[in-house]
């Protein structure tokens, strides 16, 4: 197969776009597309500070690399979850450190969950066998990402790709989680002074494209999965979607884009007193209070889910 632009051997064939490209043209195409979607979805402006949540994996390191190369003031945030199983957290941090060493001026902030809050994710999870490790971990990460972005006055950017988004969409649709459907978007504007704006600049790329970008850019990312990811439902949904994609080119992309169009038309909007034309946002249709301890918006009275988590943990210890 040949590159559509220059007829050199192609390194990737993006069947959903009927587009095969060589390394050089692919490395030009990805940033141009990303820039286009940053603008189109009003994710952030050139002068803004961006906080990229990095895990050491292919998506987040590629995103950081790309935003830096586009000239954005992009800083990294690594959350040390304290997952010592298979040396996961330490080897992923080592990848991030190496990435930073190679890039002059790249600024990284590391938040060590155990150091700051007293317990690592596996410790927390052991205390709560009834809850899935990934959902606890997700709660903690989202909280820290938001707090840090606010501290830095930054827009939060995550490396979610189309496969991630489509898998979550499938999961939400199978359970008709309409509240989650309303909040699933490439960009979530800040709707409260304690909520940072969040953006997913890679949401249109297939996972194989972000992996190819990382390989071609020589980014040394953590290839091993987090030990808690094995058997995770997200992976199962991704496999299902890939089988669908194998049968019908572009199925994943269409699934997600049709959802976005329906969402833009207001299909998932509740009729609110101020009219359905308002942009659906993170707290649409929800009464938000403020957490008594940290001030982050919450739908629950009293403490937010994050503070409740640590409060219970403290009570159990003391």
């Amino acid at each position: 197969m040949r590159c559509r632009r220059c007829s050199k051997p192609a390194v990737i064939n993006m069947r959903q776009h009927k587009l095969a490209l060589c390394g050089e043209h692919f490395l030009g195409w990805i940033p141009a597309q990303t820039q286009r979607f940053i603008k189109k979805y009003e994710m952030f402006d050139p002068g803004e500070t961006i906080l990229v949540a990095v895990s050491g994996g292919k998506d987040s390191l590629s995103l950081w690399d790309l935003l830096l190369s586009l000239g954005y003031e992009a800083r990294g945030l690594y959350i040390d979850l304290g997952i010592s199983e298979e040396g996961y957290s330490s080897s992923s941090l080592a990848k991030v450190d190496r990435f930073v060493e190679k890039r002059e001026g790249a600024r990284l902030k590391v938040v060590d969950v155990k150091e700051v809050y007293g317990k690592s994710i596996p410790q927390l999870a052991r205390e709560r066998p009834e809850q899935k490790t990934c959902s606890l971990c997700g709660l903690v990460k989202r909280y820290i990402m938001n707090e840090t972005a606010l501290e830095e006055g930054a827009v939060l950017a995550t490396g979610h790709n189309l496969d991630d988004e489509a898998a979550v969409l499938l999961q939400n649709v199978l359970h008709w989680q309409t509240g989650y459907l309303l909040r699933q978007a490439p960009v979530l504007p800040s709707t409260h002074p304690r909520l940072a704006q969040k953006a997913k600049p890679f949401f249109r790329f297939y996972e194989r494209e972000t992996a190819a970008y990382a390989i071609l850019r020589g980014i040394d990312y953590i290839y091993e999965e987090c030990p808690f990811a094995t058997g995770a439902t997200t992976i199962f949904y991704k496999e299902l979607l890939n089988r669908l994609e194998g049968r019908s080119r572009g199925a994943k992309l269409q699934f997600y884009l049709s959802f976005l169009r329906a969402r833009e038309k207001g299909f998932f909007l509740r009729m609110l007193p101020f009219g359905p034309e308002r942009i659906p946002s993170v707290n649409e249709g929800l009464e938000l209070g403020e957490c008594e301890r940290c001030g982050q918006p919450t739908t629950a009275p009293g403490l937010c889910a994050f503070c409740r988590l640590w409060k219970v943990a403290e009570a159990e210890v003391g």
């Binding site: 051997p9 192609a10 997700g138 996972e207 992996a211 390989i215 987090c226 995770a232």
Partner: protein, 67 residues
């Protein structure tokens, strides 16, 4: 040719496309990238006996970020 994927390895005869080789070892072509002799290639390339092929998993999992 020799094909590796994570900690697995196979020996297959040359003459088939990378896509067929992927299916032959029981993987989904959608879920892997093909690196032949150190170079990323598309899955329609025909592999020869001497090729060293590394399949790279692209699917990652974890937090289904639902909120």
């Amino acid at each position: 040719m020799r094909i590796t994927y994570r900690d697995k390895a196979w020996e297959l005869p040359g003459g088939m496309t990378a896509g067929d080789a992927i299916k032959k070892v029981g993987l989904d072509p959608e879920a892997v990238l093909v690196v032949r002799n150190g170079e990323l290639v598309t899955d329609d390339v025909i592999l020869s006996d001497e090729d060293e092929v590394k399949l790279i998993a692209v699917v990652s999992g974890g937090d289904g970020e639902v909120s």
